[in-house]
């Protein structure tokens, strides 16, 4: 299958998709406020007429590219393009201030590619066996697994747990609208035909992440022209020997990024800071951290890029997205007819392995285009919001419309944008809402199927060892979360 998948990559459109994805990802990621989630959501309409393999390679290229792109503005402006680049900004900006911006960018690029490569290998090794195990899951096991995934997002997603729980429940409520998955009864459709299919994922997430950002920009509009000062990029090189010296940091950070990334809801910001702290604690010169240490740039970059492969493991093998970006990717896979979950590898093995191999091979063009695009990205950073965000608004309307060629979806997108603005202003996290929307319907379906087959007895959820182990994981997660809260309270 691996060879068959490789031959599927020998197509000019696959190469073009990979290059376009990486290039646009790097450029979009460099712009503060435009993260990978928004970039992928807005580019989904472009992939409608494409075959599944080039389409997904384009979107995953955007994902990879934009995570690295986020470090460009972090290093040069101290403004992280993506939240996960915040750790990179600490030492990257310090390096840029002493005239080593070009060197910091090169280290970030090589670390990103290393993290990416490592996590892709783990993805290839883990996803298929995990999916094979999940093939044996019945409704009770799936219900317990989804309960665990939903709970982990609430407990470990960062920020207020109660706010995350509220957002997750709001997402599940939004997923209830439409026809009942078992009996086909309309629910909260108010007699309209358009609501019978429920809220489509793509218009909702385009509204939540793209349109709400337009509203936020309008709300935070600064008076007068603010000139962006970008430090001069002097010619610089990073030798293989320099990278060899930080090999342990690169490896450990990639391990952290990949395996923490597998956990639902954690995202890429937490592993980036975890790796940064680990690199500082292992360093012989910890005082250099914060003043422009090379390892302070390499560690978070390797980690946040390694998350890309790790987060795709549960997304593709179980159909459970780990964060907002993988939720968008899950939606894109579904639109291409490749429904993520245990059956994906059985039914579309060649396509999935071709995508994995492309992710692995695309490390080379990422280095090449990354080096070429530093200067371009600097010009893009200078684009003023009043010229950039009208484009986002127009693409959001097009993106929402193109899913079903329906104006109803555009109205849903606008409503989601207004709600997204309100939630973001209030500090309520959006990823749990999105995950709730995605997992709500399958969770209910599994729960009800399990209860219907057992005649309404909840015993079914503890009967099998797999189902029981997921419940034990739920209990363990709650205990760990409570322990950390107790410990933090004691420290304060």
């Amino acid at each position: 299958m691996i060879w068959e998948a490789f031959t599927a990559l020998l197509d000019i459109w696959v190469v073009v998709s990979a290059v376009v994805g990486i290039v646009s990802g790097i450029i979009i990621g460099a712009i503060p406020g435009l993260g990978p989630t928004m970039a992928i959501a807005l580019l989904i309409p472009v992939t409608f007429t494409m075959d599944p393999i080039p389409a997904m390679i384009l979107l995953l290229g955007v994902y990879q590219g934009s995570i690295f792109g986020g470090s460009i503005s972090a290093i040069l402006l101290n403004v992280p393009g993506t939240p996960s680049s915040a750790a990179t900004a600490i030492d990257g900006f310090a390096m840029a201030q002493r005239g080593e911006g070009g060197r910091a960018l090169r280290i970030a690029l090589f670390a990103s590619v290393f993290g990416n490569f490592f996590s892709c290998i783990v993805l290839m090794a883990m996803a298929e066996p995990l999916a094979r195990i999940a093939l044996d899951f019945g409704p009770a096991e799936m219900a317990n697994l989804m309960l665990f995934a939903l709970l982990v997002i609430v407990l470990f997603g960062g920020g207020s747990r109660i706010d995350a729980l509220i957002m997750m429940l709001v997402g599940i409520c939004a997923g209830i609208v439409g026809l009942d998955p078992i009996s086909g009864t309309p629910r909260f459709t108010f007699g309209t035909f358009s609501l019978e299919t429920g809220f489509q994922l793509i218009p909702v997430l385009v509204g939540l992440f793209a349109m709400s950002e337009v509203f936020i920009q309008v709300f935070n509009r600064a008076h007068g022209d603010t000139k962006i000062e970008v430090p001069e990029l002097r010619p610089s090189k990073v030798s293989f020997l320099e990278l060899w010296k930080i090999r342990a940091t690169l490896f450990l950070s990639s391990v952290i990024g990949t395996f923490v990334g597998i956990l639902p809801g954690v995202g890429s910001t937490v592993p980036a800071f975890m790796s940064y702290n680990l690199a500082r604690s292992r360093s012989k010169e910890p005082k250099e951290f914060g003043k422009g240490a090379v390892e302070g740039v390499a560690a978070p970059e390797a980690a946040n890029n390694a998350v890309t492969g790790g987060a795709l493991v549960p997304t593709l093998a179980l159909g459970i997205p780990g964060d907002a970006v993988t939720a968008v990717i899950l939606g894109a896979f579904m639109l291409q007819g490749l429904a993520p979950g245990p059956f994906l590898f059985r039914d579309h093995g060649v396509e999935v392995y071709a995508i994995f191999e492309a992710l692995l091979i695309s490390s080379l063009p990422t280095v090449t285009f990354g080096l070429m695009l530093f200067q371009v990205a600097i010009h893009v950073i200078r684009i003023k919001p009043q010229h950039l965000f009208p484009t986002i608004a127009v693409l959001a309307i097009l993106g929402a419309f193109s899913v079903n060629n329906s104006m109803f979806d555009v109205w849903v997108m606008l409503g989601a944008g207004a709600l997204g603005f309100l939630f973001r202003r209030s500090g309520f996290p959006l990823p749990p809402l999105l995950i709730g929307l995605i997992l709500g319907a399958p969770f209910e379906q599994s729960l009800r199927q399990a209860l219907l087959t057992s005649g309404g007895s909840v015993q079914v959820f503890v009967d099998s060892p797999i189902a029981l182990s997921f419940l034990l994981l739920v209990a363990f997660s709650v205990c760990v979360s409570l322990y950390f809260q107790f410990k933090r309270g004691k420290d304060d």
Binding site: V46, I162, L165, I166, C173, T185, R221, M407, S426, G440
Partner: protein
Amino acid sequence: MTNANRLTRIGIQSLTSVILLVSAICALAIVDTQIQVFSLDDEWPNARSFPVLVLGVLTLTILFRLALNWKCEEGPIGPSQQMIRVIALLLTTACALVCIHYMGFLVGVALSAIVTSFALGERRIALTFGLGIILALIVTFGAREGLSIPLP
């Protein structure tokens, strides 16, 4: 501390929580009319069980949050001028979507782009209109000819 950043007893978090709470209670109130359970489907759990459970938990969680933060200070709703700007953009974008129905996609998205650019502070008329129209032309023809999307 400026007026805009001053913390208040009842701020945007409570406002959002109250909106969600009212929505959840309304949904619970209309659940019987919006989800009909027929005699064939009356075995527990039916089509109504899960929504009632989720809405009930949501209502209790929001009430708990409100009670927990009752004496905490919160962020302000925001300066009225800034909120009005956002509401105005929301309403004009809604008008642009109505325009799509009557005048086509090109006119609607051009209007949306012009309004967004204006709301973000662009005051050079030629640039505001020029950017909006060029953007709308590129996106409309690109989507129609390049991506074969049947735009209205």
